[in-house]
Amino acid sequence: MRSQIEGSQAVARAVTLCRPQVIAAYPISPQTHIVESLSDRVRTGELAGCEYMLVESEFGAMSACIGASAAGVRTYTATSSQGLLFMAEALFNASGIGLPIVMTVANRAIGAPINIWNDHSDSMAMRDSGWIQLFAESNQEAVDLHVQAFRLAESLSVPVMVCMDGFILTHAFEEVDLPDQAQVDAFLAPFVPQQQLDPDEPVTIGAMVGPEAFAEVKYLMHAKQMTALDEIPEIAADFRRAFGRDSGGLLKTYRLDDAETVVVALGSVLGTIEDVVDSMRDAGVPIGVLGITCFRPWPAAEVRAALAHARRVVVVEKAFAVGAGGIVGQNTRDATRDLPLVVLDVVAGLGGRPVTRASLRGLLDDVVEDRLDPTRLHFLDLDLALVERELERSRHGRRPGPHAEHMLRDLGTVASGAFD
């Protein structure tokens, strides 16, 4: 059924259709509308047979999910930003035990400075937590990925994160085709746990493992994620058969044939990038887009194949490894290391800064003309003058004071979100 609906409501509806039996969540912007909506749906009985746990923290939320999943029920949570980091220890635990928890991450920047707006720093910080990470480009895809995520998680007994851009997707109203219950039930069989706390067949879960088998247990986690590289396209194909649309999979390509320049990105920014690519194609520039839907496991072979004919690749990403460089960029370089191409890292859209068509066009014109130094990390729309002023201030005086506050004052801004 097609509805004009807020992204968060659509996701809450999709999760409801997947019939989780335990939801444990703790509020944080921009995830709030999802969990508020799920709380309503449990209370009204729309989501029947589900325990909604009002936990005391995100650490508690993920921990409760661990307990519930180990007790053999379908389990869901959602968070963002600081909340995801607050869960960090439990994330590694859930994946280490191999519990098929599904979680929405409404992507948001990480402080300090505290900032509620969108970027990918949160999910990227947890990229090595052993969770599968799927990135939605649109609200339609967010809905569809949730339905697929439960199936994927449960078939491999691995936890899955569905990442969607905070505010840009979670708070956007757009048309979404919501599946109905019968369709989802047909696609997603009831949960059959691969391990379960059961007094009739007592098992020990979470035992201490020393050097004699630790590496093997970890290897198994890796092997399962490698299996996911086969499983994810199969599930997407099944989804297409059942629901009649393309959603999910490992990668999405756009005008890639004959493209000499390829823009790699993930999440909602892909739409803007595609617009810019269209206009450049109109001007005769051979340029295309590679969208990463599945970032973990990293589909290295598929990325390599998709970029096999490119001359230059520019990775536009909403996070970076401070002191090192691009994250997706580094993975991309790794996947293409034996190919004769240049991979450029561009950081964009941090802390909610809009990634505009004009800025992207300027960037891509530079890229196509080989004007970007491939040995450096680039930042889209960086206000270098602002940085320079603060550096200058730091050179004087013993205690120059807090950077962030100075820089806001320089801008004449007191609150966040005042970019226009």
Binding site: S63, I66, A70, D198, P199, G210
Partner: protein, 333 residues
């Protein structure tokens, strides 16, 4: 001392011999049908109070639930000594997740059981004092406040034993640990204001809170059984001497637990919905010195440079417990 011999085998005393009791009144541990939830072969130190406590608690809980029990364990000695790969001493479904999240994991298990219509299966969460009063405290308070159907048991050996005997929020004043050595003007742990999680649990007005020691098996089993008769959040704080961490003789575990209670150092009581409903009175009061002396962690109070002033401060704390909980027999107060 002839009267002791007579009392030792009388029913109604705290050392009653099981053999003289009616089968119905015997401890769960004395029954052939006990579940051995934590079975032999684990790696605890000789005389480990925590191993004893866990065995008593879980077997009693298994009996109370007819074997329909799940245990959730925080990181700590109990978790480590019971599950060195590929062995496990657990004969019930058992889950270990992390150090600081035991109560939340247990709540999640309880929610899952309720959601799947299996609330005949009950949940026990268990942790050391560190996992309970320190790092797991937020999760524990959340579990209490939501009144989740979990019995949470703290095995209090007054320190982080698993990591090599460091101070915890439950380490008593003057006790030596690896991070509170007997050096400087205030040897051992500082005199803080204390952190009584049983009293904090009561402030949540949960259905049932109790303290117990491994010295009184009947009492401990009774409290587990009583706890399992309630639904909602319940808390049991068990005093479990640690021979290694306390530098005490392995054979003294039960004796030390008894002396802690008989000196007033550890008050043993029960509370329902925020009100104390029963206290285990002191049978024969002993000075705290009797309790402190056998423990190497207090040796600096009695050596070449004795510190009667510090012993007096510890005595004052015990006296405060005695007055506060009414621990002396009627008429002695």
């Amino acid at each position: 001392m002839a009267f002791q011999e007579i009392k030792l085998y009388q029913t109604g005393t705290f050392v009653v011999g099981n053999r003289l009791l009616d089968p119905e009144q015997r401890t769960v541990q004395a029954r052939t049908g006990r579940s051995n939830s934590l079975t032999s072969g684990h790696r605890a130190c000789q005389g480990c109070g925590e191993a004893l406590g866990a065995r008593y608690v879980l077997d009693a809980a298994m009996r109370a639930t007819d074997g329909k029990l799940v245990a959730v364990n925080s990181t700590g000695c109990l978790e480590v000594f019971s599950t060195p790969y590929p062995e496990s001493s657990w004969q019930l479904p058992w889950l270990h997740s992390l150090f600081g999240n035991g109560p939340a994991v247990a709540s999640g298990v309880a929610a899952a059981l309720r959601a799947s219509g299996r609330d005949d299966i009950r949940v026990v969460g268990q942790a050391g004092d560190g996992g309970t009063v320190d790092i797991g405290f937020g999760a524990l308070s959340g579990m209490f406040e939501r009144n989740d159907d979990v019995l949470f048991v703290c095995y209090d050996n007054e320190g982080y034993m698993n990591t090599g005997v460091q101070r915890s929020g439950a380490t008593p004043p003057a006790a030596v640990t690896a991070t509170t050595k007997a050096v400087g003007p205030e040897p051992g742990n500082v005199f803080g204001q204390g952190k009584s999680v049983p009293l904090i649990a009561m402030a949540h007005e949960i259905p049932y809170v109790a303290t117990a020691t491994v010295a009184d098996l009947h009492d401990l089993e009774h409290k587990v059984e009583r706890a399992m008769s309630f639904r909602g959040a319940r808390y049991l704080h068990v005093f479990v001497p640690c021979p290694l961490g306390w530098r005490a003789a392995s054979a003294d575990t039960i004796r030390l637990a008894r002396l802690a209670k008989e000196s007033g150092v550890f008050p043993v009581f029960e509370a329902e919905a925020g009100e104390v409903t029963a206290v285990s009175r002191i049978r024969r009061q002993v000075p705290v010195e009797d309790y402190l002396r056998p423990q190497g962690r207090y040796a600096h109070l009695f050596g070449d440079h004795p510190r009667p002033d510090i012993v007096a401060r510890i005595q004052a704390r015990a006296d405060r417990n005695i007055a506060r909980f009414g621990l002396l027999p009627e008429g002695d107060e």
